[in-house]
């Protein structure tokens, strides 16, 4: 202790602050020249004098204030006091020595005495007069560090052992200062991190790069884990030697949990948005057939003589509406198993004939040229013809949307061993490789050209088509080359027999 006092005396002597050191009885044991000058007393005068007399304050008040400062752990207190030619003095006491549980005899008080101007709010924030230049007053800094409960701020020695501890650190890690001072920070890390030598590597990094930022799990005194955001800064003395590390730590567990919850919410919102988009387009798709059907009915009523052809329009559009409804109900409702609209409708069907009918209808309503190639004679499959017809309509409609204007669409029917194949080829803009599977997902519609809107469609056509094929034991996929065109390939198992009829 004596050796320390010599060091202390040395530091105090040249300190521009007015500093007194008092023992636990509040008697002055050291008084530096600045204090002497401030109080206009000699050192001999002050030594042994009670702080109360020097500060011209009630002894009991001093005792009480110091006691409070010591007991509540901050180690500082502020006292208004009077001295010779000053109105007001501020006394800040810092506790020296770290043995809080020990008897008072081990305490020393480190007392800053300041003239009132230093605490004048109008003065420089850091206190002190400008002749000494702005600087961080240790007491202010200590107050700041101590007062911050949000962050754990503590100093480590060059070996990584805790030197100081603040309220925030205690709040976060639950250790009291006396429990951690002198100990390495390893105990705050998880066992896995300790095995991975993480504490030491953090300090090494900080020493090499100046600071080290990390987020990771830490362990509180009670063994519970929390998510910490940590910055370690290497402190260097003159000559660049490491004098220690400053560690700032924040408990971000709640923050991360909130982030994850937000992410989940955003994902749900996005899914909702996709559903709404699909719905919006579906609504549009419903309105078109209704427009045509209602219009046709109106025309019939105005002139029944025209009924024949117009009734055909009505039937066609209403059927379309029904199909759309089926598609939609399927996609929105029972995703995992496609139920035929009416049971028992799987029959021996001529796939070639089905394709021809689909192509005929397609050509009749549009201006695209379709080249029908391959098998013309019967290709027998056991399917629900309405469902497969729906698939063909979907695929052809798709080709129409993406085909380059004026180019033909090619439909080929072939039989290869025990599978029947229908290939619909267009010469449109093509689909990038990484989206060839995505086109079969619900709600996905590609743009025909970059920067344009996707063409009209529910985004369900190919999705439902795939489901239908799967239920039939077949498959559907797409090959494509950007800038050249696409080919949608449909495969169905060939029927066991060539016998016509159900």
């Amino acid at each position: 202790m004596d050796h320390s006092r010599d060091i202390l005396r040395g530091i105090l002597h040249d300190n521009p602050e007015a500093v007194a050191v008092a023992d636990q009885y509040h008697r002055i044991v050291e008084a530096n020249p600045t204090l002497c000058a401030l109080l206009n007393r000699t050192e001999a005068d002050l030594l042994g004098a009670s702080l109360a007399s020097v500060l011209d304050t009630q002894g009991a008040a001093i005792a009480g204030a110091f006691r409070d400062a010591l007991e509540d752990g901050r180690g500082t207190c502020r006292l208004p006091a009077l001295a010779a030619d000053h109105d007001y003095l501020t006394v800040l006491a810092l506790r020296l020595g770290d043995d809080r549980n020990g008897p008072p005899a081990s305490h020393f008080l480190f007392v800053y005495v300041r003239p009132r101007s230093d605490t004048d709010p109008a003065s420089d924030e850091w206190g002190g007069d400008s002749s000494r230049g702005p600087r961080v007053h240790p007491d202010r800094f200590r107050e700041l560090v101590d007062g911050v409960c949000e962050f754990g701020i503590y100093l480590l020695d060059p070996a990584g052992r805790v030197m100081t501890w603040n309220r925030g650190a205690e709040r976060i890690l639950q250790y009291r200062e006396d429990e951690v001072v002198g100990h390495p920070i390893d105990r705050f890390y998880t066992p896995q991190d300790r095995t991975a030598d993480r504490p030491r590597r953090a300090l090494v990094w900080a020493a090499a790069h100046g600071t080290f930022n990390d987020e990771g799990w830490r362990v509180r005194r009670d063994g519970s884990w929390f998510r910490a955001d940590v910055t370690i800064t290497a402190l260097r003395g003159p000559g660049g030697r490491i004098t220690g590390f400053a560690k700032i730590q924040r408990d971000v567990t709640e923050h991360r949990a909130a982030e994850r919850a937000l992410q989940r919410e955003q994902l749900a919102e996005e899914r909702q948005r996709t559903m709404w988009q699909v719905l919006q387009v579906a609504v549009h798709e419903i309105r078109n057939p209704m427009t045509a059907a209602l219009g046709a009915v109106r025309l019939i009523r105005d002139d029944p003589d025209d009924a024949a052809s117009l009734l055909g329009v009505v039937e066609e559009e209403v059927t379309r509406l029904n199909r759309l409804l089926e598609r939609f109900v399927y996609a929105v409702g029972t995703r995992d198993a496609w139920q035929p609209a009416t049971p028992g409708t799987v029959v021996d069907t001529d796939l070639a004939a089905l394709v021809q009918a689909s192509v005929r209808m397609f050509e009749a309503v549009g201006s695209e040229t379709v080249r029908l190639l391959g098998e013309r004679s019967a290709v027998r499959v056991r399917v629900d013809p309405d469902a497969i017809r729906q698939v063909l309509d979907n695929v052809l409609t798709n080709a129409r949307k993406y085909a380059a204007p004026g180019t033909p669409i090619e439909v080929r029917v072939e039989r290869a061993g025990d599978v029947a194949r229908v290939t619909v080829r267009d010469q449109g803009c093509g689909v990038p490789r990484d989206q060839l599977e995505a086109v079969f997902e619900p709600g996905v519609r590609l743009t025909a050209h970059a920067g344009t809107q996707p063409p009209q469609g529910s985004g369900l056509g190919l999705y439902v088509s795939r489901k239908i094929l799967e239920t039939h034991g077949g498959r559907i996929w797409m090959d494509s080359e950007v800038g050249v065109g696409s080919a949608v390939r449909i495969e169905l198992p060939v029927g066991a027999s060539d016998r016509p009829g159900p």
Partner: protein
Amino acid sequence: MRRRGVRVAKVVVVDDEPNIVLVLEMALRRAGLDVVPFTDPDAAMAWLDGDASQDVGVVLLDLFMPRAGGRRLALALAGDPRHEGVAVVLMTGAIRKEFDMLPAACYQALFAKPFDLREVVPAVKAFAQAWDARAAVAAT
């Protein structure tokens, strides 16, 4: 079409739904109008560029067609001085977002689908007759 030297408005109908074009064409013809139907907005634009289109008085078009055809067609008409007096009548099954919609100056009427022919036909006819009247005045 010139009949007895009198210019009569042509009505262009554009919708990618063939049955809607069919129904509109029939209804408008019954009302005595000269109809030019299209299911492809690009084909309609090409035709409007040509000489045969000089008597177009009304264009009835679906706003949402593949490859943004409806929008492009409407904007092309708005910017074409040859078709300055043409009335643009929009049909639409959905209004999606503000930016999909056209500026009000680009169209003279809007009908939501499914529309009632008893509303659409008289409106188109009125625009056509207004065009006829202006053409008659300009001829004198």
